[in-house]
């Protein structure tokens, strides 16, 4: 110990020099290695390059363009040349009744979608699992997956036709019970039920696939021993099936909450009209009207940025929670 502390300066110096040389070696070594690597593997980068360039041009460049949310955007000056105005657009938005209404509607519509829409695919999957007649099951599945693949324009067309006041089947049926026809799509109080109901009708079947996959992973021995113990089908659902797919349910729930702001606004654009804006207008439809139709690009971009940041925070939180959950649930 005393020997080493005799000549501390010298020692440190040698160490520093050695370290520097090693670093230089490492550096030239690294350059060399990268060079060799590229010479050997250039083809991989040729394959990767188009995708990366595409991402930069079509997705990352618009992120740079998001700065117009803080600018007085002028078509002639362009994104970079327009003058900064700070948070003025956000100030405008949060004093704008229409924006606040859109924000409220987004949350309410997602919430309805969650409450009414989330359980349906789970119930469907459990029910499908209980069907013994394979042909019946296959046919039913084939049919309930179908609407997922149909475009929102067609779905909207079907909804508009079915709910039409003159010829629509819904009003025809109401007529059977002696009720007066209702022009549903102009009634603000009917918009959310129709929208959420359409969403469930279109997606519940397809969403059940995830749960069916989870159910398929349950060990058959659990059911076999339950049968030996004399359990009924009903008991097996509650004691085996549902607890076994609970992790999947929770992960799907978290993902769903993470995507809260992702209301399918395409469908809303197709179904809403000024008479129903009150309950139907969501943030993205607001952005569409103000920005693309109204030309207020900067204000609309600010609304979009707000939406994207909140959505990002929600998704990240959801991801973190789901990761933690799926890890702890692995035992």
């Amino acid at each position: 110990m005393s020997e080493t502390s005799d000549i501390p300066g010298q020692r440190t110096e040698t160490i520093v020099i050695e370290a520097r040389e090693a670093q230089r070696d490492r550096r030239t070594g690294r350059v060399q290695r990268i060079g060799d690597h590229l010479k050997r593997e250039w083809q991989l980068y040729v394959m990767l390059l188009p995708t990366i360039i595409w991402l930069v041009i079509f997705l990352y460049k618009p992120m740079y363009g998001l700065q117009i949310a803080f600018k007085d955007y002028s078509l002639f000056r362009g994104v970079a040349g327009s003058a900064w105005i700070g948070l003025e657009h956000f100030d405008t938005l949060f004093n704008n009744d229409q924006f606040l209404r859109a924000l409220r509607n987004t949350v309410i519509i997602s919430f309805y979608g969650l409450i009414f829409g989330f359980p349906v695919p789970i119930i469907l999957a459990v029910m499908f699992n209980e069907v013994l007649h394979q042909k019946f099951k296959k046919t039913a599945q084939t049919i309930v997956y179908l609407p997922h693949f149909i475009s929102s324009v067609i779905i909207a067309g079907i909804v508009i036709t079915a709910f039409s006041p003159s010829a629509g089947i819904v009003n025809t049926m109401l007529g059977w019970f002696g009720m007066d026809p209702v022009y549903f799509l102009t009634k603000p109080e009917w918009f959310r039920p129709i929208f959420v109901g359409t969403g469930i009708w279109q997606e519940a079947g397809f969403q059940s696939i995830v749960y069916l996959a989870a159910i398929a992973g349950i060990s058959p021995t659990l059911y076999e021993s339950a049968v030996v113990d004399g359990a009924s089908r009903w008991q097996m659902i509650w004691k085996i099936t549902l607890p076994s797919i609970l992790p999947t349910i929770i992960i799907m729930l978290i993902i769903r909450i993470g995507n809260m702001l992702e209301v399918s606004f395409e469908m809303i654009i197709l179904l809403y009209q000024p008479a129903t804006y009150e309950t139907a207008d969501v943030v993205n439809t607001f952005i569409y009207r103000q920005g693309i139709q109204g030309g207020q690009y900067d204000l609309a971009a600010a609304a979009g940025l707000f939406n994207a940041v909140v959505a990002f925070a929600l998704v990240m939180t959801a991801n973190t929670i789901s990761k933690r959950y799926s890890r702890t649930s692995l035992w």
Binding site: P50, P62, L66, T142, T161, G175, A214, L270, N307, A311
Partner: protein
């Protein structure tokens, strides 16, 4: 699975009620399609009167004659084919090599590139900056703009990358011994082994393209370039508010409702044709590799 005889009486009742409920849900899924099909085959008069419930009333093909004699219908139909085929091929051209490169362990900065792809799934600039960017690139009102502007999708890349990663290295050893380069390994080893995954991605692209409407509506003003979905919207959604126009479409043979229904049927048919493939690959391919019965 289990034998019916093993079931108690309560269970048998349960099974029957369960089947009935599923049957009900299935019928309610199917019914709107049947209703639309029947409407399209009914006379305008009966449709207007609300007499069509399940089967066509006063069977006629007038509505179809009306739709099929409209040049705009055929133009938009052709455009949809152009966007669907062109867009899907373009997507595969980007996604397959990109996903392959991202799946290689020796790729330098692999974590960074992967993150760059994944980040686009969590955060996007939103409608306005994307629209302004397309405009600045001169891609408004352009076939090429629609085809290239939506070519890459982070989800599809990651899906295919995961599939490539799961292929054991041993498969490519023989090709490597023969001195194959990366392109050859991808072409001769990985692509043949990944047919189900590639088919799945291709089908995702086809469905998204066929059904895509919002951006086509926003980016295309030229009537000669709009796809079927935009044409559909113009006819069904926009004009349903316009009673006056709707009335001009009225005659005893066909009405606004039957014509709308006929257009809907015409645009669903291609999806129905590829539906068996969709089902096969969506369940066989990725949908988590686990949709067993």
């Amino acid at each position: 699975m289990a034998n019916m005889n093993l079931y108690s009486r309560g269970d048998r009742l349960f099974v029957i009620v369960n089947m009935a409920l599923i049957g009900l849900f299935t019928i309610s899924t199917l019914y709107p399609f049947i209703y639309i099909a029947s409407l399209s085959l009914s006379t305008g008069f009966e449709a207007r009167a609300g007499n069509v419930v399940l089967t066509p009333v006063g069977f006629t093909l007038e509505a179809y004659k009306q739709v099929l004699s409209e040049p705009e219908f055929w133009t938009s139909y052709r455009n949809t084919f152009i966007y669907t085929i062109g867009g899907t091929l373009m997507s595969l051209l980007f996604i397959i090599p990109g996903a392959y490169a991202l799946s290689r362990p020796q790729l330098y900065g692999r974590r960074f590139w992967n993150l760059m792809v994944a980040f686009t799934m969590w955060f996007n600039a939103g409608l306005i900056p994307f629209f302004l960017n397309m405009r600045d690139l001169g891609l408004l009102d352009s076939y090429f703009g629609i085809i290239i502007g939506f070519a890459v999708n982070g989800f599809n890349i990651i899906l295919l990358r995961n599939f490539f990663e799961a292929i054991p290295q041993s498969f490519e050893e023989a090709a490597r011994m023969d001195g194959a380069n990366e392109f050859q390994v991808l072409w001769k080893v990985y692509i043949p082994l990944s047919k189900p995954a590639i088919a799945t991605v291709a089908l995702f692209c086809i469905v998204a393209r066929w059904n895509g409407f919002f951006w086509a509506m926003v980016l295309l003003q030229d009537k000669d370039k709009i796809p079927l979905q935009v044409y559909l919207r113009q006819v069904i959604v926009a004009l349903s508010d316009d009673e006056e126009f709707a009335n001009t479409l009225m005659s005893s043979a066909y009405s606004f409702e039957t014509v709308s229904a006929a257009i809907i049927v015409c645009s669903i048919i291609p999806i129905l044709i590829i539906y068996p493939f969709l089902q096969k690959y969506f369940s066989k391919g990725i949908l988590l590799g686990g949709v067993k019965e």
